[in-house]
Subunit: 291 residues, 4 copies
Amino acid sequence: MLRERFYTLTASCPDQVGIVARVSGFLAAHKGWILETSLHAQPPDEHDETGRYYMRVEIRADSLPFALPELCERFRSVAEDLDMEWKIADSALRKRVVILVSQQEHCLYDLLARWQAQELDIDIPCVISNHETFRGFVEWHGIPFHCVPVTSDGKDAAYAEVRRIFEEARGDTMVLARYMQILSPALCAAYPGQIINIHHSFLPSFVGARPYHQAWAKGVKLIGATCHYVTANLDQGPIIEQDVIRIDHTDTVADMVRYGKDIEKTVLARGLRYHIEGRVLLHGNKTIVFR
Amino acid sequence: MLRERFYTLTASCPDQVGIVARVSGFLAAHKGWILETSLHAQPPDEHDETGRYYMRVEIRADSLPFALPELCERFRSVAEDLDMEWKIADSALRKRVVILVSQQEHCLYDLLARWQAQELDIDIPCVISNHETFRGFVEWHGIPFHCVPVTSDGKDAAYAEVRRIFEEARGDTMVLARYMQILSPALCAAYPGQIINIHHSFLPSFVGARPYHQAWAKGVKLIGATCHYVTANLDQGPIIEQDVIRIDHTDTVADMVRYGKDIEKTVLARGLRYHIEGRVLLHGNKTIVFR
Amino acid sequence: MLRERFYTLTASCPDQVGIVARVSGFLAAHKGWILETSLHAQPPDEHDETGRYYMRVEIRADSLPFALPELCERFRSVAEDLDMEWKIADSALRKRVVILVSQQEHCLYDLLARWQAQELDIDIPCVISNHETFRGFVEWHGIPFHCVPVTSDGKDAAYAEVRRIFEEARGDTMVLARYMQILSPALCAAYPGQIINIHHSFLPSFVGARPYHQAWAKGVKLIGATCHYVTANLDQGPIIEQDVIRIDHTDTVADMVRYGKDIEKTVLARGLRYHIEGRVLLHGNKTIVFR
Amino acid sequence: MLRERFYTLTASCPDQVGIVARVSGFLAAHKGWILETSLHAQPPDEHDETGRYYMRVEIRADSLPFALPELCERFRSVAEDLDMEWKIADSALRKRVVILVSQQEHCLYDLLARWQAQELDIDIPCVISNHETFRGFVEWHGIPFHCVPVTSDGKDAAYAEVRRIFEEARGDTMVLARYMQILSPALCAAYPGQIINIHHSFLPSFVGARPYHQAWAKGVKLIGATCHYVTANLDQGPIIEQDVIRIDHTDTVADMVRYGKDIEKTVLARGLRYHIEGRVLLHGNKTIVFR
């Protein structure tokens, strides 16, 4: 799955006539070869009177006559004219994803399999857990493992330590791969749009603890999982991806847990992929996902 | 899709050893030919200390040496021994389904197409609406149409009229095919397990009015529909069937309404089929659905 | 679902640097307000050495200082420079869709319900059938109905008559809504990319007659439906849309037929919508579908 | 997910009145507590004039007054009267599943994660591969790893060695977890209904090599995977489970490979679970799957 090097421009700005013309004109003037373009005009709503325009463009690096710093430098004036929030990522710099896990295998195994197969184009500088369970498994893959226990009266210290490790690892993204602890508001606030969680229900149904028990008690006919950015509001952050699976009256809570794992890992992997490829843009508490 | 005549026994009783042996032994003793058997042991829970056993059995009518009344008479002693709630339906007596509709086409057209094609084995003695919109369409099919307007200060009279029409039509089941009025508690209570609604969200998410607006505001990635029995608790009755469809950031509320219709009509038709075929048994506020 | 008037440009051309810049630059120069843009670079393959670029752009009509003829006139030079195949549709001119049907209700009822609800933005100038079955139903909707029987030795005459009716109705698109006759190669050739069929299997599995019987004999666990353009090669035309539904060992062929109908009508309606909105572009025997 | 010990009776016999009564009567006479019962009457077809009856019953071991050998001994006369093929499995004896793999991670990681989590109630006595790739990973789990290269002129010897290892490991089931070699007819014939493969297409579409390339060339809108028993007819054995995933025109073959992996591993795990729990019964080249 090796691809040529490319840059990914993601941007948003107030909607107006001529945005695409301006950006694509800039790229064409430098012979920039566009690999993929995604565009979305979000209509005006209560947060945003004019409407907002979102874009994601992949440009082949070797088609441009200059390197990334100069591309950014030159693009800056286009962006300023359009009052744009933007960034340009370089495919040669892999995202550094730190995984947090507790004691369930499924998401961890799934992510490491994808990483091994180079299906997910990431580095995993380390794995952090509140248990020792997976030390051997993780270290066998050549990935450092940090056990940071979270005790009821030592939460602040624990999250400070998580943060220290994440910084030391120069992490871009924190993935809660069934990490069964609630991060502190301070930690959430420190990394907006950088912490991804997998919640084991089809949000907004069954917020909080033991969602499969809630689903069983309610008698729903499908159960789901939700991949979302973590914010200080528990289970309320912007939703990146969701999916469901059919159950019936014969399924116990244990069966639902088992079925649920299959969706959890798939939904988490999809959401993480969208995130690291710069396909997820935020609009208030909602996401634009350019698949 | 013509099938030979058959009886459908549905029953539940406290779980114990020998239930299936007793019932199937009774049938075998009379040479009853079983077409289909569905069995389910619901484990003990807070409502039910012993656990409860549910069954549905289809028996070919002409395999038995007697008619339905004698079958019932003879089965009674088996049922009493097992402390069973039970009934036996005769496929020769079609269920009489009264449809209530407001001004949206999709569920009404869908149900009438299935009825025309004899795909749903029901009679439709009449359609009731709070608007005149579909009078011509319904009457063209040879089905009587009753317009019962529901005004804010005339609700009691309106629901009394609905009830009178339903009784006069000798209805078994009332289907709310996007009927945009909230039935009175009295009407709900009069027909427990006989009124089927289609709610345009994946319950328990987005209870109440304008669920697609709620879904849009939340930014979910799938929307759904729920077919459930109506109880006095709005949108809280036992769930019979649900399904979902994928949406994304490009979809407006109007798009979601349009996508939603496709699931609403399918989910309603499935739920109704399960109901009229005696495939839905109630366990507290949950359903056993023998597909 | 009324929207403001808009033009839809669909186009394809050999891939090169600057296509988007040229087209969006042209539109921006005339203050054209873009509502939606979809772009796709099809990589080089055996049919096409350079790769081919596909686009679909919706432009608000009242944002432009001139009407459609002048828009076309001015765009022509852009298109010529890019060696482009293109057309521009006007949302004010509804597509005229002629429906062909035999004796099954489900697709016909479904399409007419969507048309009634103005969910599908089309005119239906007439319905053609080889049976009288649906005359009353269609005419009740105020739509002319033509019965054109197809006999084994009168096929040429029958298809000539279908063609005459289609022409007289100034049809744009012919929809085979479970029309159980095989169109003549001449008729297929006369309307490339204009005849849409719904095939009751997940192609390329189970080509030809009685696909549900084939699926039953094979023991597959999912059955499907395929909406495709009709070509002279039976069931081999470009696929527009497909979907599947789960079955199991308890399902008879009759059950599969019944389940299948639910997918057939949904898949046909989706495919037709993509087609009339100009979302389907052809690349050899494959489709680009800009959803 | 620990459950009490139970026996699983699976059986089939010519259909007649009284089968369920006879079997459930036998169990009730010994106070056998039935946990789960699945029944299916397969109608007469060209292979089978009388129709055939299939059943699967789980009985709590400690509810019976004798152990498995005596249960079998006593049941024998019931089975003989009904001309039954049958067996009784003991949940205390875990199935021994030998995994064959080549160089792709996804199915192997997935199966080992489920085994680690005790989600799949199996022993894995060894893993066999035609490459050394996963030796370390497998051995880290404490599972023996055998590399048996398959060269073009050494196939017979290789498969003889696979067979020897399987026998020595006292394997019940062989799982081809993306094992990219075609087993010899002799090996297939030696273990009918014991070798499970995952094929990376929605069979019967795209039999043989490079199914994703075939799917891409055809332009299908969904791709799938099929879990089936291996027979000497390549990709033609009885289908246990299938699923699909949506793709579109933007997806390259590489993308399809990536999406496909997610279905392959899920479909394989589901099929394997059904198999080891005795939920799959064969009817000619089709399967009854009691979920």
